[in-house]
């Protein structure tokens, strides 16, 4: 392979003492530390890096930086890597994307034969009809032709992506000379600064400049790295600016993660991205060997790569002139320099696979293998758009400039105007000072307003006016398109001819044309294409550029990997103090909301039967628990529950149901009175947080005069339900100082005592399972001891743990409903079997007017007990109850299980009121389409409807 590597250059980034091996399309290559993938390949003589998206024409280096549309490659299992900026790493496996069977012989190139039919709007025109083929054929075929690399999502070896937060006073987006100077002055003013640069080194265009530029850069680098308060993030990119200066930064190639998303809340944002050199539109402008002036300067000066042997240069500015000097210093023969400022032009580049000749505007044909264009700049105003700005076009300078920005967003550097390095850094310093002053004023405000913060050690910094001397706008010829047609968008293969055609078809607004032709919608997000597209549109409409407007740049500034956006994903899981025990004793877990819980320990039917016959224990810690204290607790309970609470005695427990203001059942549970002004409320497991918030809401807004303190204690009290006919016998062995006899401790009572040596346990006698049962609320740090004591002391009584599934069976046998399962968003208290509980004559209760209205209605669904006539059939929950002779829906099964106690299936169901009478036969449609009959029961309870078993 040939070598284009030049002798050592003054500002090169290479460490020539290193030798990095890598492969390109399976073939071995080598480069040096400091090389990009592209520079190493170019140095080795590689000219073709990719194929165009639509026509699959060969593509070479165009810009030799992050924005190069021709340098997207696959690296290992990572697709769409920017080879123009990604540094070479030893062992890299690099390959071309979207080619088959190879980059050199790509079958997709046959598209060129039908290219005349692939014009603007081709997709919309071609794939509209017949519609049924869209899913069956068109979409699948188009996916095959989609550009980009492959994601090996099953075998990928990427590490996890990362995320962090930051709060710099000043964030500088762009580490060129103006950005560096801004960061320095902001830090010197006392601000904390984050300086973000998308290339691996700071310096911007100084990096490939001459000795004077390199000297300035060295000084700036020394200052930036020695000034306290500046965090430098290279190889990182500011991808978006959102409300209140929330700025997203993606930091690449971090030592612990391939990418890290930094969520920064910024006092002042300084936008200093420099300028993006734009291509020139002419026939053959996508041939390998056509490069921008900046590209050849970077290749020569940063990576010591000779970009060609015989060059033609079209120059409209000083960058082009400098490129001529660089080419000559690299030993490239400069065949001709065409001065666009004097009206000289290029109309075409020709060659097969690479430029071999150049046609000039004056009719000459020049033999050359390199055509360099320097025709102007695009201001990458994306972040300004995101801050609400609509940049305006200046025809004298031939580019867009910011118009109006919020005070917390400032610009400096090339995006703000032109100047020498000295002028740019001076403007940067002034901008940095202004940004720091504004940010520090904001910080001072925050310090005085935030309770936890320190008292500011100085007075509010004085506001200073924006007295910066604006950078000038240097005249530049409007060089966009030659007299021939060429590509405008290299990523999307959109030509100037396509744009003119689209305009002719009526898509003559810049936003419509963008969407119709996909121009500017590729990975570069319009950095190279937007201005040329607007120019072609202006030309087609014969109007001024300023009248065209621009497309609106939205986040992200540059494509972001999904991994970076996801970052570290936290999905909190809650565990009771007994969860380790459950897991080491054979429990099968169930994730219920955030709680991980034991669903069963092997056989839930046996667990349920054991509760009916002996005694079982279950961990019900997720049950919401709220400690209520104060003289007005009873008033609060009266407000939030549908029943009465003023007369609940100390030592007693009462069931209560809550409804929302629309009268719909929202939660339920029992509340016990532990002392005169001290209660413990329980809620459903899933409703604990919402009930707490609701109580606080009512206390803080509606009745701030009430003296009630609400403290959530869900995790602090491990809840253990001891259920079964032998539960009292078991507890009598462990409970001290509490008389558990039926007379002394009746149903719906609460006591506080010592259980197995653990003091301050709350014991209440309730019965969700329908059996004699006690619920223990134990300080969680000692809960394992109590749990194990129950098991060890009750082995002769047949004690065994039971899980959620057994509990569901038992409660269904007993006919206890579950809020949210047996009720829904339309279930009023009156229809959920709570008719007797609701006290409509109370002075006030949340939802009382709606409850009163609901009680007058006779058309609402009713919750009933239901038993299939075939006792062996268990209808799935949510099976519909239908009219026998039609498909009219008359209700649904809300809960269903096989009952081990009855040896038959049992259900709860919501039914039309016409079906709610006991003995009514209903038709249930099963999931498989069969229909069965079932009979409405007199009670919700299928087992012990009188409650004899739990009142012993």
């Amino acid at each position: 392979m040939s070598s284009n590597r030049l002798p050592i250059r003054g500002g090169e980034l290479l460490d020539r003492s290193t030798n990095l091996s890598f492969t390109w399309n399976g073939r071995a290559y080598s480069g040096h530390e400091g090389d990009t993938i592209a520079s190493a390949l170019a140095a080795a003589g590689v000219e073709i890096f990719s194929r165009g998206m639509k026509y699959h024409r060969r593509r070479g280096i165009l810009t030799a930086n992050h924005w190069d549309p021709n340098l997207s490659v696959q690296v290992g299992d990572e697709p769409n890597v920017r080879a123009g900026s990604r540094r070479l790493v030893d062992g890299m496996q690099v390959s071309a994307q979207n080619v088959w069977p190879s980059l050199r012989w790509d079958l997709g190139a046959v598209n060129r034969l039908v290219g005349r039919y692939l014009s603007a709007g081709f997709y919309y025109k071609t794939f509209m009809r017949p519609q049924f083929l869209w899913h069956n054929l068109y979409q699948r075929v188009l996916r095959k032709f989609a550009p980009g690399g492959r994601v090996h999502w099953k075998t990928g070896t990427h590490g996890e992506y990362d995320k962090r937060y930051a709060h710099p006073d000043v964030l500088v987006a762009g580490g060129g000379p103006a950005g560096m100077a801004a960061a320095l002055s902001a830090a010197e003013a006392g601000a904390s600064v984050m300086l973000v640069e998308q290339e691996p080194e700071l310096g911007g265009h100084l990096r490939w400049g001459g000795p004077d530029d390199l000297a300035v850069l060295a000084d700036l680098n020394r200052a930036v790295h020695s000034t306290p308060g500046i965090e430098v993030l290279c190889d990182s990119i500011v991808t978006g600016r959102y409300d209140h200066n929330w700025v997203a930064v993606v930091q690449r190639n971090h030592e612990i993660a391939p990418e890290r998303l930094i969520k920064a809340r910024v006092g002042s944002l300084i936008v200093a991205p420099g300028l993006v050199e734009r291509p020139y539109v002419f026939a053959g402008n996508d041939l390998p060997g056509v490069m921008l002036a900046g590209a050849v300067r970077r290749l020569i000066n940063l990576w010591a790569v000779k970009p060609g042997n015989r060059a033609v240069v079209l120059s409209a500015n000083s960058e082009g002139d400098a490129a001529v000097a660089d080419l000559e210093s690299a030993g490239v023969e400069v065949v001709a320099v065409l001065d666009a400022r004097a009206g000289e032009d290029v109309v075409g580049a020709r060659g097969r696979g690479r430029v071999t000749s150049v046609q000039t505007g004056d009719g000459r044909t020049l033999k050359a293998d390199l055509l360099v264009t320097a025709t102007g700049w695009t201001a990458p105003t994306s972040l300004l758009n995101m801050a609400g700005d609509r940049p305006v076009y200046d025809r004298i300078a031939a580019r867009y400039f910011p118009q109006s920005l919020p005070d917390n967003v400032l610009v400096t550097g090339g995006i703000a105007g032109d100047g020498s390095t000295t002028e740019l850094t001076a403007h940067g310093r002034e901008t940095g000072s202004l940004a720091a002053q504004r940010a520090l004023r904001l910080r001072h405000d925050r310090l005085t307003q935030t309770p936890r913060s320190a008292t500011p050690d100085s007075a509010l910094p004085a506001a200073i006016a924006d007295n910066r001397i604006p950078l000038r706008r240097s005249p530049h010829p409007e060089c966009y398109r030659s007299t021939t047609h060429g590509l405008v968008d290299y990523s999307e293969d959109v030509s100037s001819k396509d744009l003119i055609q689209a305009t002719g078809e009526g898509f003559d607004s810049i936003e419509l044309m963008k969407r119709y032709t996909t121009v500017t919608m590729g990975p570069g997000q319009g950095k190279l294409e937007t201005v040329n597209a607007a120019a072609v549109l202006a030309e087609a409409r014969a109007v001024e550029m300023a009248d065209i407007g621009t497309t609106v740049w939205r986040p992200p500034f540059s494509p972001v990997s999904l991994g970076a956006l996801a970052g570290r994903i936290f999905e909190p899981v809650r565990r009771s103090a007994l969860q380790n025990w459950h897991e080491t004793n054979g429990a099968t877990n169930l994730l219920a909301g955030q709680w991980v819980r034991p669903d069963h320990y092997g056989d839930p039917m046996t667990e349920a039967s054991n509760v009916r016959e002996n005694v079982g224990i279950i961990d019900v810690t997720p049950l919401g628990k709220l400690d209520l204290r104060g003289p007005d607790v009873a008033n609060l309970l009266d407000l939030v529950y549908v029943n009465r609470w003023q007369k609940l005695e100390v030592g007693r427990v009462r069931y209560g149901a809550m409804v929302a203001e629309d009268g719909v059942v929202s939660d339920d549970g029992v509340t016990g009175r532990l002392a005169d002004s001290h209660y413990l409320m329980t809620t459903t497991s899933s409703g604990a947080a919402a009930v707490w918030e609701m109580l606080e809401d009512w206390l803080q807004t509606y009745r701030p005069d009430w003296e009630v303190h609400v403290t959530p204690v869900t995790g602090g009290l491990t809840s253990i339900n001891v259920a079964g006919p032998r539960s009292r016998e078991l507890l009598e062995r462990l409970v001290e100082n509490v008389d558990l006899s039926a007379g002394a401790f009746p149903y719906f009572s609460v006591r506080t005592g010592t259980v197995s040596g653990v003091q301050d346990c709350i014991i209440w006698r309730i019965g969700f399972t329908g059996e004699l049962s006690y619920e223990l609320h134990v300080p969680s740090g000692h809960a394992l001891h109590v749990w194990e004591s129950l098991l060890s002391n009750g082995s002769d009584l047949g004690v065994a743990p039971f899980g959620i599934e057994a509990q569901r069976i038992l409660r269904l046998e007993k006919g206890h409903y579950i809020v949210g399962q047996d009720t829904d968003g339309l279930s009023k208290a009156s229809t959920a079997g709570l008719g007797g509980l609701v006290k409509l004559d109370k002075a006030d209760t949340i939802g009382l007017p709606e409850l009163r209205a609901a009680f007058e209605r006779t058309d609402l669904p009713v919750l009933v007990g239901l038993q299939p006539d075939d006792p062996m059939i268990v209808p799935d929950e949510a099976c519909q109850i239908v009219e026998a002779g039609s498909n009219e829906i008359l209700g649904r099964v809300t809960s269903s299980r096989m009952s081990p106690t009855l040896g038959r299936s049992v259900c709860l169901a919501q039914v039309d009121p016409s079906l709610a009478s006991a003995g009514t036969a209903v038709t249930v449609q099963l999931v498989d389409g069969r229909r069965i009959t079932a009979t409405v029961q007199e009670h919700h309870a299928h087992v012990d409807p009188e409650g004899a078993r739990q009142r012993v």
Partner: protein, 191 residues
């Protein structure tokens, strides 16, 4: 109850980086008492701490102004009863022992601020969150109360959460600390 061991929600012992840049310890067994009282009550004036700040009492108890009219007292293990008894109870005052209800960890060392910034979006700069600052925040998506409580100039954060989240939160913070040299035990690794 002192004869019974307190079982923490976190099974792991203290974790620290070899260079001393960061350490993470489980302090869930510390006595914790929640006080809610009007500022005009005897308890409110007795505590002498405003919302957002903390102070350490002579007996070593850390008094934190957790929220308006709400304080959290943190002391050595087994001191819950003494803490409860130490507070005047005139007026409308609630004092709840939350020792068993809150997991608590100590994250310390110069790298602790960077580790915490990976899981918490609060501005942790010295002026915004100085030594003694008390605040609530989401840490790895868990609602937490935090106190900056430096020890001998070593930056230190006390992070507490509802007990049931304790094991998850400890693992999440340990994971954030891995970048700074902590070896995360296999049994709590999130990877």
């Amino acid at each position: 109850m002192s004869e019974l061991d307190f079982v923490s929600p976190v099974a792991s012992g203290a974790l620290s980086a070899s260079g001393g840049g960061i350490a993470l310890e489980d302090l869930s067994d510390r006595s914790k008492v929640l006080v809610r009282a009007g500022r005009s009550t005897a308890a409110g004036t007795h505590l002498k701490v405003t919302y957002g700040h903390s102070r350490r009492r002579r007996d070593g108890t850390l008094i934190c102004g957790s929220r308006p009219d709400e304080w959290t007292l943190i002391a050595d293990p087994g001191q819950g009863a003494e803490l409860l008894a130490s507070l005047p109870d005139e007026g409308f005052v609630s004092v709840v022992d939350i020792t068993h209800g809150r997991a608590m960890f100590r994250l310390s060392g110069p790298d602790s601020v960077d580790a915490l910034a990976k899981v918490c979006n609060i501005d942790l700069a010295d002026d915004m969150t100085p030594d003694g600052a008390v605040f609530s925040a989401s840490v790895a998506k868990v609602t937490c109360d935090l106190v900056r409580s430096d020890v001998a100039d070593r930056r230190t954060y006390l992070i507490s959460c509802e007990r049931s989240f304790g094991r998850f939160l400890f693992a999440a913070i340990a994971d954030a600390c891995a970048e700074f040299g902590i070896d995360v035990p296999e049994d709590i690794s999130m990877h």
